[in-house]
């Protein structure tokens, strides 16, 4: 064995070397915010993995490779690879999810999609490290046994890096892969599509012959990301996903990958959303977070009347008429006797407040099933609910199909976002009739704003319009699509200053809705 090849017989030596090399690697990569890597013994032929941003180097792999290469070179190469995943590709969880989703869409199979996305990310990260950071990765790849997948990928590296990695030249297999602009981030999705087209036969062959095969850099699990990233990534991915189903599929995969799924049933970050329906709810929650609807507050003012509000201890200098003997143990002693604190009541006036909101959503058969396609009704209802929740108001949801026949679900006023979305995402798919009396009774309870979203194909539309026009509540009616009922509703509500009508034909229309907006803002005064 060559003298300059070290054997890492004591892990302390490796630790010292890592302590020495890590600042240099960070310097070359322009000081990424990553914790000091650590060592682990996994017994697998994989060189490294990343968990919660920390690179974990496999001592077994390093020991095996140390027979062929200086340990310093191995460490540097592994660190370059790991850091490039953080600084270049995939960069963040949102990008990782996008790449995986594209691969899944093309290949249809979870394992194949994962392998394809992993290989693509490896090629991009390695090429970035070699081109921009003078990495010693080629030396590492030149040594050691190779899997069939690695043979092809290393042939690709030979072509695109212009180096000799000493393997079998496999030009035919990589011909489709060599001219892909791997380092152009804007074209990664298109590049991945081309990459998969070129490598698909090999992936399918590898899956059938050795399904557990992986490259020396291992697989890219989602454990490498910080938990805080998940929420942001899901929000971005909800915007990019073609359908709720695609979101649900990727979410399911994400959940399976995460080590400790949260069992809060979608309370936060969505780890607990196990079934497709739950995934749908999370999809609309995350998608709605991308739209911030403006909300005009209801003008409220002081009523001028004082009413007993709370107690405070009585002092000698204060008047007797507000004493509350029932809370004073029958005593007239300063500090013990309680006196009523009076406060002025609020009525509609100049001081703005946000009333609560009743979201009425149509989930009849003429509406889109939110589980299979993007439902503008659910998204619009979710955006409206979020807007009111952001202003400290409560939201009630009335989801209806054929309400008089029992096809309805009512959630009373609450501030629980998951509960609100649960009812919003419910799909009945039957006929369409509104139980006007029931809705009116809720509307009269607390004078909430009303947000109605429907395609206006309501059997008792005239009755609904007539009843809404008699209410004093501010009504925002949103019609999805252009159906005849929408025109009737618009015509019937022209004279009613408390009703605003908006149309939604695609997601771009949603930000145009101004909740609680009325034609005459002070019409109620």
């Amino acid at each position: 064995m060559n003298d300059n090849r070290e054997r890492p017989e004591q892990s302390e030596d490796l630790e010292e070397m890592l302590q020495r090399l890590w600042p240099e690697v960070r310097r070359r990569h322009l000081y990424p915010e990553l914790p000091l890597p650590r060592f682990d013994k996994s017994g697998s032929p994989v060189g490294m993995e990343i968990r919660n941003k920390q690179i974990i180097l496999n001592v077994d792999y390093i020991e095996a490779m140390a027979q062929l290469l200086p340990v310093e070179t191995i460490l540097e190469a592994l660190l370059d690879h790991g850091v490039s995943h953080y600084t270049c590709c995939p960069w963040d969880l949102a990008t990782h999810l996008r790449l995986y989703a594209r691969a899944k869409k093309i290949l249809g199979d979870n394992d194949l999609a994962r392998t394809a996305a992993d290989l693509f990310m490896d090629v991009v990260a390695d090429t970035h490290a070699v081109r921009e950071r003078q990495s010693s990765l080629p030396q590492l790849y030149r040594s050691g046994a190779r899997t069939p997948l690695e043979e092809v990928i290393f042939s690709l590296y030979e072509e695109i890096w212009g180096v000799d990695l000493g393997g079998k030249r496999n030009q035919d297999a990589v011909k489709r892969l060599v001219a892909i602009p791997y380092l152009d981030k804007r074209r990664w999705l298109a590049s991945l599509t081309r990459f998969i087209r070129g490598i698909r036969p090999l992936l399918e062959e590898t899956k059938s012959s050795s399904p557990d095969e992986q490259t020396r850099m291992g697989r890219h699990g989602f454990q490498q990301y910080a938990p805080e990233e998940i929420e942001q990534a899901l929000r971005e991915f909800a915007r990019d996903a073609d359908s709720p189903e695609e979101f649900a599929e990727v979410l399911e995969y994400l959940q399976n990958e995460l080590e400790s799924p949260c069992d809060k049933s979608g309370e936060d970050m969505g780890h607990g959303a196990g079934s497709p329906v739950e995934a749908n709810r999370l999809y609309y929650m995350k998608l709605a977070e991308n739209y911030a609807l403006p909300l005009r507050k209801m003008p409220l003012k002081d009523s001028g009347h004082l009413h007993p509000h709370s107690h405070r201890p009585w002092e000698v200098c204060q008047p007797f008429q507000d004493l509350d003997p029932w809370s004073s143990f029958g005593k007239y002693l300063p500090g013990i006797t309680q006196i009523w604190e009076r406060r002025e009541g609020l009525i509609y006036g100049k001081k703005e407040k946000t009333p609560n909101c009743l979201v009425i959503i149509d989930s009849s058969g003429s509406m889109v099933d939110p589980r299979s396609q993007l439902s503008y009704a659910v998204l619009g209802g979710g955006c409206a609910a979020d807007a009111y929740l952001r202003h400290d108001a409560s939201v009630a949801v009335y989801n209806f199909s054929d309400a008089p026949a029992g096809g309805r679900e009512y959630l009373s006023f609450t501030r629980s976002r998951p509960l609100i979305y649960k009812v919003l995402c419910r799909y009945f798919g039957g006929g369409t009739a509104l139980d006007v009396d029931e809705v009116t009774s809720v509307a009269l309870e607390d004078d909430p704003d009303i947000f109605l979203i429907t395609d206006m194909q309501i059997t008792n539309l005239d009755q609904t319009v007539s009843r809404f026009s008699r209410l004093k509540n501010r009504v925002t009616a949103v019609h999805v699509g252009k159906k005849s009922g929408a025109l009737r509703f618009i015509k019937a509500s022209v004279k009613n200053k408390n009703i605003s009508v908006f149309g939604v034909n695609d997601t771009n229309d949603i930000p145009r809705i101004v909740l609680g907006s009325v034609r005459n803002y002070l019409a109620l005064e």
Binding site: L30, E132, Q134, I160, W161, G162, R176, A179, P181, R197
Partner: protein, 224 residues
Amino acid sequence: MFNPFEDFKDFLSKAKNLPLDRLAAAHDQIMGDLAAGYGKLVEQELKSLVWFVEHNRVIEAYKTATEVIKEVSYDAHSIEDFCYVLDSGTDIPYLISGPAGIYIAALCNNADEDAIVLRLGEMKRTLHFLGYRLPYGKSLRVEGDAGNFTGSALQGGEVTVTGSTGDWAGAGMTEGKISIHKHCGRNTGEWMQGGEIWVGSRIRGLGRVASGQIYQAGEPVGPA
């Protein structure tokens, strides 16, 4: 005065030039040239709003396509990538199936390679006229589906489609072989003058076959 960026000074000029830079740029250039050629063909052909498949018009379109690609340097893989460029509708906003298919056929027939494989399985649309006039000694394998007039006027080449084709497959072919692994549409082999068409599964309808042979699932079915 201490310069906090001093540490980064030596990083600025260290990026290596890899062969990838050249390869990717060359590929983009080829796609641009192929798109420009297709644009010329469309300009020539789109004198009316609707493109009708007429015998003379197809011949004229093919002639124009052959002319415009003369100066373009490309390989078989570029053809496949260009099919996806056409399909994406972003770089080229006007995919007209007829002229597009004839353009692809002209590219295949004039490519340096004798064996061409087009993996078109992920395309949203199908292209017509794939394999049109494919000459003797060349083979075209389409992985996925193909549109109408697949292998029409075939001139001795070998066309394989791993999916299904539309109508008029092998129309007017003189010699060569067309293999369709799944189904094919109506008027299959219309005015066929020779050669063979092998269909793995259903044939929706046979055309008026003058000569040659059509097989369905290994059994001869035409000419009647």
